[in-house]
Subunit: 389 residues, 3 copies
């Protein structure tokens, strides 16, 4: 028997309550994932993406985006090596002329063997696509799996009609799980102590901000997104630490006009299949949505997006300007990249499967554990090694 | 027990009729393979080659080529790192002075331990060598295996006395099996549609050329080469394809003076242990012989050679000139390199063993299947991982 | 069950008398190893080292050197990525503020979660450190293992009070076992035939120097270092070799003023956990001590040091000058680097575990076999894969 698992059974069996999360080294299948920004795929263009280990080819045809497996069914070459679209509705493999329909993947012709019995019977894998808020989402899953609505796989408020969204995406050299875990992490604020964002927004930054387990909210309605929310308690902050008897050996950041309770993030939450939402970041009216799309065992693509309610097009343009001139340099390229550095740094340790059993979590890490359990309860399948291209 | 196989038994067992071909990731042992061109190994020079995963050292001594394992029996260093030949007939390892005879591999001395009991008893592996048509062939096999004549492992006509052969060799980043399979492939002509060779020879190129199974000839005489020949049927060609209702969406290449039946390749054939022959390529009087020598799991050395009957030395010189000025730029560097690009492209897929079960062959690919079966019937052993240096 | 071994049991079982040596691909745990020279770690500085696969962070605080695992217990990041020492006695992880005491590894605070129950209960691994003769030694072993004195893990005479030691260290691209085996190797002198050191010291160099098994001395006192000494027999040298009937086909090196019996090395010895001592190298009054510290499966750090008795500071300065101007260029950079080249050359072969069964040792290699057996008898544990960072 060929074992189709990334993690040894002996190790898996030692984790009871989040076993499938441990197993999901390249993510959960049968979910919607961010593939690219709409602006990255203009009319008539093609784009390749590796998602959950599968190579995809995306193409925009008359406005609509289609996604197909980037591997000919015949001899396995990548269609993207030499894109040949002889008609609007098809793509032809450059090697033997196998021709597939974008809409359903059907093999409609083989130019070198037009009488082949395969024609009209075999299909290449195609993927459902949805476009929303300037992001192209792809459903990566089993053939014939009935894809649920996109709204089940993005955080609440993201799809709100009056919300404008801006963002950037990056390839991060760390397993995808470092994304949500690094974001929902209650006590990692120490990392950001020297971020230039703090001066820009005159933000306070405690050394630590301990979560309150009673305020952890689980969202598990059958007909909606599955997530876990930490409603921050402003009282549980520490601005000074004593180390080995030295009082104030290290201190957090305070500014004169903070502490009024106004300027601060109010909650962090994580949502299946791997999305972070932080309300009130980088400022009160703005929400951070970070989408983590697994590439392979050691990399993920991170979509750092920010959403803000905008009454009209004019407000949306103002937000776009503010994003480009302020949040991109200070929040994304500085503050959030500190998180990226930390995620990449954990990769060396967690690349060993045994690390998941050797880590020493504190009681303040309860959100991480709750997130793992939530995933284990609600995921729609573990992506297996045999799906990797 | 140490398993000495490249492919998992559970996968192997799913392929009945060409199981050993599936297993032969670095080729079949106990066969003759092309190592280099004669011109690459002048008198007194040494040359290293990796063949079927084994590191070899070749040296020409008084005209004759010898081949020895490039790994001292004592501590495993490569003799080639510092070649020391203190006599014509021997090579001495630079580390401890183990001295081996080229002719039979015998350990004739250890300069630092001249009274060792190993002397005269232990041997380094040596390989039978034959030189023909400007190519050095090496028999890579078991110790004491009685090598059959070279003529059993090259295609018929290659060794014909009046045949002149010219060629080049290249390292290709693909498993060796992509070579014969890519050559015997009936329906891959679509790939060559934009080759500059077509203009040069005013050659027609159909989109497809479907083989006729009844015309597939198997050559399996006990006392000769084992091969499979596809005699082309000029009637089964397609020059126009309809795609998704669009007639003539893609077309092949025709020239005014073709179609007379004169100018075309007449057969393609594959021969154990991995040689392609195409008669009438790149023009009527010329035959292509391509030798594929496995290097390791992911690479092979490809010898692209062309042979032509030449009545005398003068004709042979004319052929040499024609090869250099015409066939090298147009047939080798352009047309055949398109096949190389395709072979390298399949490597990403077939590097997974499961790909051999996931590929979807058409009925027109019957030659590929027949080739695999032929190999499984007539090979002289599967090269195992334990032979890899 | 997760197997925690580098070598397959089926192979291990075929080596009876030195099985654990075969298994010890990254060395023996619970021994003292050279980490760096004292001069490489000035006051207040930190230095990273990978030893036996474990990442260590070394720091000198008020003269004393401390060593800690370079991996936070919490999420596994390397402390060295951003060293933050808020007090003299501690280091704080840059990610979540986990703060550890250098002296005992105790978690003394978590700046972001100062009330965590982990504080005062969990420890990071710390390593015993000894500094002697300008070398920092670290004991790499199990928690709570009672480290024996350093003198048990270095060759006799190294720690002598009146001995001055000079040296250099290098990363070598070969398994650590190539170090002691290459040094104790009786018949490798042929390798050094063209060393410039020979002219510098007017040294004779035989082609071979066969050991005398009866003169092999084993040192195995319970309360001291464990080693094996080859007392050289000046009579068993060969300066001429006949190859395949050609007398004097290769010759060794003689100088006019040698052969008096004065100028020559008098013994070579190997000591657990991996140290070579050569008395009388590179000249009579000097002893070579080479320490081999495993880095990982394929690399080790080699400390080439030379010791000489010095009556006073003045003599020690003279020796230092002689080392820099003479022994460093001729003995280290030339002669000993020939051994390094040979060691790196064996790596390609011995990286296959089966190579240890395929090697063909001569009867003159008895010292190598005795060394392996000695290690198998006296080591304090095999470093397992699960300890590798």
């Amino acid at each position: 028997m060929i074992q189709d698992s990334f993690v040894d059974e002996a190790l898996l069996s030692r984790v009871k309550s989040w076993r499938d999360y441990f197993a999901a080294k390249v993510g959960f299948k049968n979910h919607w994932y961010a593939a690219c920004f709409s602006r990255e795929l203009p009319e008539g263009e093609t784009l390749t993406r590796t998602m959950l280990g599968e190579n995809l080819l995306l193409r925009r045809i008359r406005g609509k985006v289609y996604a197909m497996k980037d591997r000919c069914i015949h001899r396995g070459v990548r269609l993207s090596e030499k894109v040949e679209c002889h008609t609007d509705s098809t793509i032809t493999c450059w090697y033997h002329g196998f021709t597939f329909r974008w809409a359903d993947g059907m093999l409609t012709n083989i130019v070198g063997a037009p009488e082949s019995r395969l024609i009209g019977k075999h299909k290449i894998k195609v993927y459902p696509v949805e476009e929303a808020k300037g992001v192209v989402f792809v459903f990566v899953g089993d053939d014939n799996y009935n894809a649920p609505p996109l709204s089940h796989d993005v955080p609440p408020t993201f799809l709100d009609e009056d919300r404008a969204v801006e963002g950037e995406n990056f390839v991060i050299a760390a397993n995808w799980r470092s994304g949500p875990e690094g974001g929902i992490d209650e006590i990692h604020r120490y990392l950001h102590r020297d971020s230039t964002l703090l001066l820009n927004v005159k933000g306070a930054l405690p050394l630590g901000h301990v979560g309150v387990k009673a305020q952890c909210e689980k969202v598990e309605d059958a007909d909606g997104p599955k997530g876990i929310i930490d409603h921050f308690n402003a009282d549980k902050m520490y601005f000074e630490a004593e180390i080995d008897g030295v009082a104030g050996a290290v201190t957090g950041i305070r500014f004169a006009d903070t502490g009024t309770g106004k300027k601060r993030t109010v909650s962090a939450s994580c949502w299946l299949p791997g999305v972070l939402r932080v309300q009130g970041f980088p400022e009160d009216e703005t929400t951070l949505y970070e989408f983590y799309t697994p590439i392979d065992e050691t990399r993920h693509r991170c979509f750092m997006t920010m959403g803000r309610r905008c009454a009209d097009e004019d407000e949306a343009l103002q937000f776009r300007s503010r994003f480009v001139t302020r949040w991109k340099p200070y929040a994304i390229k500085n503050f959030l990249m500190q998180d990226v550095m930390a995620r990449e740094s954990t990769q060396h340790f967690y690349r060993h499967d045994r690390a998941w059993l050797e880590e020493v979590l504190t009681e303040e890490d309860f959100m991480i554990i709750e997130w793992r359990k939530l995933c284990a309860r609600h995921h729609r399948g573990v992506q297996p090694p045999s799906r990797m291209d």
